[in-house]
Point group: C2
Chain length 214, copies 2
């Protein structure tokens, strides 16, 4: 089996949000798809280990915040490489309440849903949501997962359905600097050593000093 074939499936990049007893929580996701047209339903796949999973289960609602190519990619790191168990992710990003759910300002569109069914797998829950509200927030091209990988050079968190251990290997024969939190590989024109000391990881805002040479 050639697992790289899995990467030929196309996805967007989303922040799936909900409430944790009144506190906004959420996580980065790429597995979201419309299931039915009328009534409209949308399914998302969320890892059991993601704190957001239990919060969606309890609240019975979730919003899919769609990121666009103009969205600040740092929100991917904020929501993808730390846990709402340990911090308030929404303290770091502006948001508004739309469709009774927390929607980050960085989103170009949102789809708010009420959970009507779930499907359990070994590691993820597929939440099926009836759409209760949806809107376009600004004109932008939706960010695809391919764009995230190819243009932003982002990696998949270990909880992602699409995570492959192979992605951690650095390009052969080239010395690289890698963010230890999100796996971002620095690929800029300026040599890494010459970057200003206040340089931070564009995905998860780790400081330059945290980067590891590989």
């Amino acid at each position: 089996m050639n697992k790289s074939a899995f990467h030929q499936l196309s996805y967007g990049v989303y922040v799936v949000s909900t409430w944790d007893k009144g506190r906004p929580v959420g996580c980065t996701a790429n597995s979201a798809m419309q299931i039915t047209s009328d009534p409209a339903t949308v399914a998302v796949s969320i890892n059991h280990d993601n704190y957001t999973n239990s919060c969606i289960r309890e609240s019975g609602h979730f919003a899919v915040c769609v990121l666009g190519v103009s969205s600040d990619p740092a929100v991917i790191g904020t929501f993808g490489f730390q846990s709402s168990r340990d911090c308030n992710k929404f303290d770091q990003v502006p948001y508004q309440v739309r469709g009774c759910l927390p929607v980050i300002d960085a989103a170009c569109a949102y789809i708010a849903c009420e959970v009507i069914d779930t499907m359990e797998t070994s590691t993820h829950t597929v939440f099926l949501g009836r759409v209760t509200d949806a809107d376009i927030l600004r004109k932008d091209d939706p960010m695809t997962y391919a764009y995230y990988h190819q243009v932003i050079k982002g990696k998949s968190p270990k909880n992602a359905p699409t995570y492959l251990p192979e992605q951690e290997s650095a390009p052969a024969g080239k010395e690289t600097y890698v963010c230890p939190v999100c796996g971002y590989v620095y690929d800029g024109e300026i040599p890494f050593e010459e970057l200003p000391e206040d340089y931070v990881c564009p995905l998860c805002r780790q400081p330059k000093s945290a980067f590891v040479k590989k």
Copy 2:
């Protein structure tokens, strides 16, 4: 609710195939996503009205054939705008058996699955498949649903989760020729009337004479 927000979700373009008592059958789909990484599982959403739905249910297997931007777009029409009840779609397109399932040669990759769970909705079944085989067939960029709509100017079949009745309206103030089967709107530089008589719809191969002026 602004339903156009649904179009901000990103998808690929696939042919989902299976066996109908030894006969290869399949349909075009855009709703497919990886659910778990290890063991790898993939979910697809197939309309109850699609003949392929009952065949996947009976055979317990399906393959996701991934279309690339270099794939002949006519296979989208062949598999999306006619039914395996009425014709043998695979008579019209070359295929091979990979992972014990029919995989069209036009695919750039395939993922073969055994059904391990299903989730029913009002109009669609979500099939959860454990991946039994997968491979890349040729180097190509996966075709995204956005590419299909924007570059190939394709429409969604009525059974698609992403179908919106609004898509059927022609651009205001412009006389257009529309394929009555797949909804393809002719948008070429040569005036439609001046096209050769053997012109066929690039998506579903309907003859020029079938096109309707709108």
